[in-house]
Amino acid sequence: MLSTLQPPRSLTLLPFRRFHGSKTIASLASSSPTLDASFVSPPQSQILTTRRSLLSGETTASEIAKSYLSRIRLTEPQLKCFLHVSENVLKEAQEIDQRISRGEEVGPLAGVVIGVKDNICTEGMPSTAASRILEHYRPPFDATAVKKIKEMGGIVVGKTNMDEFGMGSTTEASAFQVTANPWDLTRVPGGSSGGSAAAVAARQCMVSLGSDTGGSVRQPASFCGVVGLKPTYGRVSRFGLMAYASSLDVIGCFGSTVADAGVLLHAVSGYDRFDSTSSKQDVPEFDTQFLSMDSFESKPLKGVRVGLIRETLEEGVDSGVRSATQEAASHLEALGCVVTEVSLPSFSLGLPAYYVIASSESSSNLSRYDGVRYGNQVMADELNKLYECSRGQGFGGEVKMRILMGTYALSAGYYDAYYKRAQQVRTLIRKDFKAALDHNDILISPAAPSAAYKIGEKKDDPLAMYAGDIMTVNVNLAGLPAIVLPCGLVEGGPSGLPVGLQMIGAAFDEEKLLKVGHIFEQTLKGSGFVPPTLPNVA
């Protein structure tokens, strides 16, 4: 039963009808007089499309790679998503073409153009975590996630911009450049994985890897109108991910469709002996469940219980975001879901608890950057001075601040009052989620309290910036998986600004999130989520 809420301005939600075969799109278009004139077919998975066209000989990996490289050249001066573009892209593409022409097997990611966040180690390519202290640093090994991508034929096109060491929500804390949001070049792309999200939105790469400690994949996905997938803690090996907060960090995936994010996640998931926190849980085949819309039943999500988190729709959340979320809930109802409101009483405690834990753990993790074994060194006549000057000059302001806050919270006499207490609050938050997920298949909320804001707007006000993380941090504290997918547009920018819906699942239940997300995306009518400001975007 459809809710009676008004739909947001730029989306047309149609009553869901039974689909029969391939004539459905045409018949729907002709029978409904209210159909938006810019109706397009549902978004297609770029990974699956690439595989089909490579194996059928319709195109070559070299042609694909060339077109992405030229789009990067064209759009980078305005967007600045990349800190480094690989010099080996065409060579790797040619190798794939040669193997295909010899009739050899190629991996499931063959020819797929992938961006990698700069805090993930890539051998031989600079990996700086957007920090001066690691400027020019080239790791001697690939992160496990990168190794897996390469083994499957994926092409790492470059390293994307981010907030330094993952500390930030806008990429303004990068030591090198600020990335622009492809939907409005005066606005932030979100962070800390802002470069990875913007690069996918701008079609500079097909998919990308990011990292999510407090929302750093999900919030930029919302701001840039792409899909951002945060797996369960332990699902993906953290080996090679430069640690920020070890109990919270995960590697996450960006794609322009749910299917792409899911296939990429499947590729990088699994137990790794180099990461003792990686899980031995089986990785289900969640890369093969993305059915085409033709095969959907009339209520494809019948019986799925969805809990809308009450505390995420209160004061302080933009009205446009609220209505987009409520509309998304109605869409889920139309698909057969049972949507109810749930309360997570400890919800608002998550933000201070998160920042205590993250600062504390980061103060420990970043002590390795001392200018001795790698990175920029500032020579001094005494060892402690070498440490102090290398770190003082190598770290940016936000990083220094968080290290100092963490040092304070962990000091003798303060540990109980801050860090231990925050961990206790974490238990409360975890219990609330577990209780809610015992009665619901998934929980939903906005991904952020607003759409993308202007560059410079929150730069000098740390608390205002932290406030934007409120929808996402609790999920990291509980270690749960979550996906953000674009669900609407709000006013702002040349053609509106995207807003994402966050879906949260039970631990290791990425399969369910991907299933619900895929069906939601494929049945959402509208003009798609392609930023209008860029030339030649397919």
């Binding site: 090994f141 803690y233 926190t277 009450r310 409101e341 100092l404 304070y408 009052a417 206790q424």
Partner: protein
């Protein structure tokens, strides 16, 4: 600013399971509750007196980070503001709540304590700022009192 409202710890209310309604939430009562909690959370008496405010210079020394005097001032003000905000956690009743180290882990993921040779030693060597065949060079250590 509207987003400041999100920083306040909102008092817990019992969970309610209701159907989604078309009407928006009632505004005035909620608004008043938020304003009160914002005021409470930023007032200094949420900080227990036993905790000293952060001494930024000392913290910088502990963390081995050198700060210029202007950085100490600027950083100091922001840190004090954030740590005041952390003070909200003191209001929560956590008696008999176990601290959660991290997400539920299976444990026992330990490897053999056997050394393995890393192949790419050249690349490691290339990253070392001051290297003097086999040794990483650092300046002398002065013992401080």
């Amino acid at each position: 600013m509207a987003t400041r409202a999100l920083l306040a710890v909102v008092t817990a209310s019992p969970p309610r399971m209701i159907q989604i309604k078309a009407s928006t939430f009632s505004s005035s009562l909620k608004f008043q509750r938020h304003i009160t909690t914002i005021a409470r959370s930023f007032s200094s008496d949420t900080n227990p007196s036993v905790l000293q405010p952060p001494d930024v210079s000392r913290l910088a020394e502990t963390a081995r980070i050198s700060l210029t005097p202007s950085e100490i001032e600027e950083c100091g003000a922001k840190i004090r503001q954030v740590i005041d905000w952390f003070g909200q956690l003191q209001q929560v009743d956590v008696s008999s709540v176990e601290p959660a180290i991290r997400a539920e882990m299976e444990g026992g993921n330990l490897r053999e304590d056997a050394p393995e040779t890393f192949e790419n030693r050249e690349s490691i060597r290339a990253s070392i700022p001051s290297f003097d065949e086999v040794y990483l060079k650092v300046p002398k250590v002065l013992n401080k009192e």
